[in-house]
């Protein structure tokens, strides 16, 4: 349907097949849709300012969309009757929770990756997921190659409120400290973000 005043073209397009030509699963399409809506809501959050949004680092944009994708898809599938959907305690190997993620340079297949792929891996991170979830992959998987997130007291609304003023890791660091929940220390925030500052 064409709505006067809106864009002539659709703002969001989702493909039913993956890059290999295989049909994607329903939950994958759902989670991708939420990911893209996450970008749309992020633009709205910046007062619908595309110029402002354009200055946000790709890592912040994609990691926030990852967090919304994880948060909403989990709620949806839990309510559909899958209480263990995307539960890292059951399966840390795969899922939108991204607890399997580690920075590109610590991967054993680093030499196979192109520079673009290294950038993609370092941009699509669990940066925001780990501020909310209670799974510390560094401890639970048992390796310091994974982010050490002792923090889990932030909520999605709290992060969304501070995100309006976040353009990169440094502004995120100061906003997280200025809006930290009870029990979270500046030292914990620094230690957590150090992993990302050294990508």
């Amino acid at each position: 349907m064409f709505v006067p005043g809106s864009s002539l073209w659709p703002n969001i397009k989702i493909w039913g097949k993956d890059s290999n030509g295989n049909y994607r699963t329903t939950d994958d399409i759902f989670s991708t849709t939420i990911h893209e809506l996450g970008h749309a809501s992020h633009i709205e959050l910046m007062n619908a300012g595309l110029i402002q949004f354009g200055q946000v680092s790709v890592q912040i944009r994609e990691s926030w969309a990852n967090a919304i994708e994880w948060y909403i898809t989990k709620i949806e599938y839990n309510e559909l009757g899958f209480p263990n959907y995307d539960n890292p305690y059951m399966n840390y190997f795969m899922g939108d929770h991204m607890q399997w993620w580690k920075k590109a340079k610590l991967r054993s297949d680093y030499n196979l990756l192109t520079d673009t792929q290294k950038k993609i891996i370092n941009n699509y991170t669990p940066l925001f997921i780990d501020l909310v979830d209670d799974y510390n992959q560094s401890v639970n998987i048992g390796s310091t190659n994974y982010p050490d997130d002792a923090i889990h007291a932030y909520t999605m609304p709290r992060i969304e409120n501070l995100l309006k003023h976040v353009y990169g890791l440094s502004s995120l660091q100061s906003k997280l400290k200025a809006n930290k929940p009870y029990g979270v220390t500046d030292n914990q925030i620094d230690r957590y973000l150090n992993y990302y500052f050294s990508l």
Binding site: D18, S19, N20, D28, T32, H35, E36, H39, L50, F53, G54, R61, E62, N66, M90, N91, Y92, F93, M94, M98, W100, W101, K102, A104, R107, S108, D109, L112, T114, T116, Q117, I120, I121, N123, Y124, T125, I141, G142, S143
Partner: protein, 142 residues
């Protein structure tokens, strides 16, 4: 002037697009090239999580796709596993503890990694008769 504004607007609209990269796909293959039946029991936090049976000359393949990258092998959550050959000889592989196997199935570095296509990565772990012999030697040394 009008043309300049139109060109600028078009460039601005196009540069505002967020195009997600094509999905990464990981294929994880565990292959039994030994002359022995293999059973693998997976453990996580001291509980058995899963069991994999690999008949001779057989393999098990896992696939996972994600736009932001793919996990390193192994394709399951486990901190240790027990490999049993022919229902009799056993050997333990660990993720981080010191171990008696030369190639732990739980360590990404012990898998062969290949790039099948630009976004498709294949990781392979192949059991051979040398692995069986290692389990025998380990069994005798206990």
């Amino acid at each position: 002037m009008k043309t300049n504004i139109m060109i600028f607007s078009l460039i601005f609209i196009l540069s505002s697009c967020i195009k997600e990269p094509p999905d990464f796909t990981g294929k994880y293959i565990i292959q039994n090239n030994s002359n022995h039946l293999i059973q693998i029991n997976l453990y996580l936090y001291n509980e058995i999580k899963d069991s994999i049976i690999l008949p001779i000359n057989n393999y098990k393949e896992y696939t996972y796709s994600n736009r932001g990258g793919i996990p390193e092998p192994p394709p399951f959550s486990a901190d240790s596993l027990m490999v049993t050959y022919d229902d009799s000889i056993t050997i333990i592989h660990y993720k981080y503890q010191q171990q008696n196997v030369s190639r732990s199935l739980l360590l990404p570095s012990c898998w062969l990694a290949n790039q099948e296509k630009s976004t498709v990565f294949e990781y392979k772990y192949i059991f051979t008769n040398a692995d069986y012999q290692e389990a025998i030697d380990n069994h005798l040394n206990r």
